[in-house]
């Protein structure tokens, strides 16, 4: 086992010795600083207040909204237009949240807490996509890149099993992804905190589990949302990893994975909206955090379903990559 960790540390060194690895981390930090600054600048220049007024009879207002939303939900459920049904999940979530608020007397925050603010901002700015982009690039470099640079044969003719070498590469990539994720969280959190205040650090938030509301600390919800985003990144990384091991071409692995990330997943999601079998396709269900932040897009799907389907496909991709890598002549 200690041998394996040596191998991981070797792969880690190789990864970090690449200039692009450091550059991507710096770009990530810059993007966040610029994005949060622009957001602050916009708010200041348009005199958008940090706080919203919550009226004393918020319960009645919320109740009225809920009644309307329930009628809307009924209509949607009977609707034949499949595109319209996309908002069912989001409505269900809003209704559940509203009812939970009224039942447990949770007054909406007049000033959004820093956890929720940073999570919302991270989701809207789709940091997850940028992280996925960077990790896909480094994963392809680490696996397929070694083939094109000819160094893979230097690694294979060592006292290690091929599967160990490949696993070490995957682990090193995952570690890099985690570094990007944690950096993103910290920089984003600190920037937004500095601009809008670190208020409500100990607050609690409602979390929609696709069937009910749980009331947990805002910090925990942030961790859950970031964690789900990371799992989504992992789905694409595993695809890049498998294509790298199979095709041995860095450009094919990077290009194809990015295509799937930015275009393919959208196409598959459309298929899932229009066809009932679409939800069983890979990638359509892999936007995990949207299940808790926006509700399910596809009727009858839950977070657990999304995670399950994606896990099955990831295992298949992984297995294909390992199998080809172990068998092939280099």
């Amino acid at each position: 086992m200690s041998n394996f960790f040596t191998l991981v540390s070797i792969e880690n060194t190789k990864l970090w010795k690449r200039l692009s690895t450091k550059v991507m981390l710096i770009i990530m930090i810059l993007i966040i600083i610029v994005a949060t600054s622009i957001y602050k600048y916009y708010n200041v220049s348009h005199k958008i207040s940090n706080t919203i007024k919550i009226s004393d009879n918020w319960k009645q207002e919320l109740q009225q909204g809920l009644t309307l939303q329930k009628i809307q939900l009924k209509q949607l459920e009977n609707d034949t237009n499949k595109m319209a049904k996309v908002s069912i999940g989001s409505l269900e979530k809003t209704i559940a949240e509203g009812e939970y608020r009224i039942r447990n007397n949770i007054k909406p925050e007049s000033n959004q807490n820093v956890w929720a603010r940073s999570t919302d901002f991270a989701t809207n700015a789709s940091y997850g996509g940028i992280i996925a982009l960077f990790v896909i690039i480094s994963c392809s470099a680490l696996v397929a890149g070694e083939f094109s640079e000819g160094t893979m044969k230097m690694m294979i003719s060592r006292p290690y099993k091929r599967s160990e070498i490949l696993t070490a590469k995957l682990v090193a990539t995952i570690i890099y992804g985690l570094v990007l994720l944690v950096t993103t969280f910290l920089v984003n959190f600190i920037m937004l905190g500095l601009f809008f205040g670190f208020n409500g650090l100990g607050n609690s938030e409602m979390l929609w589990t696709s069937s009910k509301i749980v009331y947990i600390s805002a910090a925990l919800k942030t961790i859950i949302v970031y964690g789900l985003n990371f799992l989504q990144v992992m789905v694409y990384v595993i695809i890049a990893f498998a294509i790298s091991a199979i095709s041995r071409s860095r450009s094919i692995a990077t290009g194809f994975s990015l295509f799937l990330l930015f275009v393919g997943s959208g196409i598959i999601l459309m298929l899932a909206i229009y066809f009932s079998w679409g939800k069983y396709l890979p990638l359509g269900m892999s936007n995990f955090s949207s299940f808790v932040t926006q509700g399910a897009y596809i009727e009858g799907t839950t977070l657990a379903f999304g995670l399950g389907i994606s896990a099955i496909y990831s295992i298949i991709f992984c297995f294909a990559g390992y199998w080809v890598f172990a068998k092939r002549d280099i």
Binding site: T6, K17, T151, K153, S157, R158, D329
Partner: protein
């Protein structure tokens, strides 16, 4: 009795329906330098790739230091240091970083050993530069350095003189000689340049169309090249024309070329030639045997291919 470092048994490689190599059997003893010779596409690289685990063995087996590549891959690889095809290293890192990375793989390789190896290949000056700035010769030396790090029993070099200048080739030859005599390192070198092997190797195996044609010591092979008693002498004298006509008179064929008179004859007639020439008053300045019995000729003879 010296230990067997590399043992290849009836090795066979089939890709699809094509047999790339078959019936390859080689035994290498400790401290031996073995040349693996053959034209491009004969199966040299395929054989080497099977030894170092890059290619799967279809049939047969390979033992390195007693460990089977098939059954005890890790054990076998611990005994091997190799450069396959090109000395590809991580170009974006310095030579030293490359060595540090490979050193981590083996338990007993410390900083002192890394420095020792750098000294052996004489790369002290450039070791902190990025590999992408290296010349091919430097890359070859760095490649040898990484292959020597863990003091393997067997060093495998695939076409190591490719792209090296004559001085580089000579340097490498001296280095390999030194390593094998001082540390008992066994070296397996492949090449298609026969002249080089002649000077480096103790024994040579010739592979052609996927099969080993012969394995012999360099000396045995050179003897094989001599066609019976026949020999070619190069005569330098003060009157080449007269010498040539004199020889024709005694039924010895000769040719006047730029470097002298080439005389084709058998060994037992050499004294006769000398007497004929000197008694006719020709000043013999020198008479050498032509060094034609190179591996090249042997190779051509064995493979039945004309130049």
């Amino acid at each position: 009795m010296r230990n067997e470092v590399l043992k290849i048994e009836n090795l066979k490689k089939v890709i699809g329906k094509r047999t790339i190599v078959s019936d390859i059997s080689v035994d290498l003893k400790e401290g031996e330098i073995f040349g693996f010779l053959g034209p491009n596409g004969a199966g040299k690289s395929t054989t080497i790739k099977m030894i170092v685990g890059l290619s799967k063995i279809t049939e047969g087996n390979i033992y390195v230091g007693g460990c089977s590549v098939k059954e005890d891959f890790k054990g076998a690889m611990r005994n091997i240091g190799c450069i396959v095809e090109n000395p590809d290293m991580y170009k974006y890192m310095s030579g030293l970083d490359n060595l540090k990375i490979f050193a981590k793989i083996y338990k007993d390789v410390d900083a002192a050993r890394i420095n020792e190896v750098i000294k052996i290949v004489d790369l002290e000056k450039a070791i902190k530069d990025k590999v992408k700035t290296y010349s091919l010769g430097m890359k070859q030396r760095l490649g040898i350095a990484q292959a020597l790090l863990h003091s393997p029993k067997l060093l495998i070099l695939d076409e190591p003189t490719n792209g090296l200048d004559p001085a580089g080739i000579k340097e490498m030859r001296e280095l390999l000689r030194k390593l094998s005599s001082e540390t008992g390192l066994t070296v397996f070198i492949s090449s298609h340049i026969l002249g080089e092997m002649q000077q480096i190797c103790d024994r040579v195996g010739i592979i052609h169309k996927g099969k080993i044609i012969t394995i012999k010591s360099v000396e045995e092979l050179l003897n094989l090249a001599q066609d019976g008693d026949k020999t070619v002498l190069i005569l330098k004298s003060d009157n080449n024309e007269k010498a040539a006509s004199l020889l024709t008179n005694v039924n010895i064929s000769s040719n006047i070329l730029a470097d002298g008179v080439h005389i084709e004859t058998t060994k037992d007639r050499v004294p006769e030639i000398v007497t004929t020439l000197t008694s006719a008053g020709i000043g013999v300045l020198g008479m050498d045997r032509q060094e034609s019995q190179s591996l090249e000729d042997v190779f051509m003879k064995l493979t039945g291919e004309d130049k």
